[in-house]
């Protein structure tokens, strides 16, 4: 049991990343400010997964929605061939 606890403790210590939107206290992610959204895209314009961005589940789903709306309105590219 002690070993299990120690393992759990080490696991918890490793996962210390906090969602950026939770830190800022944001309730809604707006698709209008594309500068903020671009951070959560890869070089090719894919949506960055939760395990790398560190977002919480709620905000990741909101973010995906916002990114898709922004793509539709041509604020963000679907695919960017030239890496920035």
């Amino acid at each position: 049991m002690r070993q299990m606890r120690e393992r759990r403790n080490t696991m918890l210590q490793r996962k210390k990343r906090v969602c950026r939107f939770c830190e800022g206290g944001d309730v809604f992610i707006d698709f209008r400010d594309e500068k903020r959204l671009v951070r959560f895209l890869t070089e090719l314009g894919k949506i960055v997964p939760r395990r790398t961005s560190g977002n919480c589940n709620q905000h990741q789903r909101q973010l995906a929605k916002a990114l898709k709306r922004a793509r539709h309105l041509a604020l963000i590219p679907f695919v960017s061939d030239i890496p920035r």
Binding site: Q13, R14, V27, F28, D30, E34, L73
Partner: protein, 221 residues
């Protein structure tokens, strides 16, 4: 049920710059005729599109917010209008969420606080920068003249290119010698990575990037 809608559309103004006005007025008319109340019109202006839509690189963004009951089915009417109209490149209509309204209030509160915080500072700063801005302007005027002199200097140097080439070759040779010398001193190189690994290990607990770096090091070794 009463809803707050938001509709955004991109108008093609490449042929006629007044097109945005006519389209937006047409949409407003449609909303008002069918019983909606227009709350806000926001013109974002001409923006560059992230990708070409119907072979156009620029478009005029217009955002209209209106409230209407869900029975009136206004989004469907707007959708039909957008599809018929050739000048509309893209459109998006959605029901504004409660969360978005809360977020807007928050942002407005933040902006007010920022403005209040900035106002006293800006009033003090606005006097100083004006004095500061005026002196550099003559310097900026002088700047364009200096590059011309530099160009002339470079032309002079181009007249005698031969000695420069020799020097470049010499420098290349010297650089090669330096690189060779670095390779020869292997024990020094081995000691450095060991120090890097020690520094990386504490980072691993915080980020995945640290572990990635370690992986790359293993592959190299």
């Amino acid at each position: 049920m009463e809803n707050l809608y938001c509709t955004i559309f991109i108008v093609d103004i490449s042929q006629n710059p007044d097109e945005s006005e006519t389209v937006s007025s047409r949409i407003q008319q449609l909303v008002e005729d069918h019983g909606g109340i227009i709350k806000k019109i926001n013109r974002w202006g001409k923006k560059r599109l992230a990708y070409s839509v119907q072979k156009k690189s620029h478009g005029f963004y217009v955002e209209i917010e209106f409230s209407a009951s869900s029975r009136l089915n206004i989004p469907k009417i707007l959708e039909a209008e957008y599809r018929i109209n050739d000048r509309v490149l893209r459109h998006l209509t959605y029901i504004v969420d409660k969360k978005e309204l809360v977020q807007r209030e928050k942002n407005a509160g933040k902006f007010k606080k920022d403005q209040e915080a900035e106002k006293p500072e800006s009033s003090e700063e606005s006097k100083e920068p004006k004095l500061a801005v005026t002196p550099p302007s003559p310097e900026e005027k002088e700047v364009p003249e200096s590059p011309v002199e530099e160009v002339e200097k470079t032309e002079d140097t181009e007249v005698l290119p031969e000695p420069e080439e020799v020097t470049e070759e010499e420098t290349k040779k010297s650089e090669k010698k330096e690189t060779v010398s670095d390779n020869e001193s292997e024990p020094v190189m081995e000691s450095e990575p060991a120090e890097e690994q020690e520094s990386v290990q504490p980072k691993e607990s915080e980020n995945e990037s640290g572990s990635d770096e370690e992986d790359s090091e293993k592959r190299e070794s």
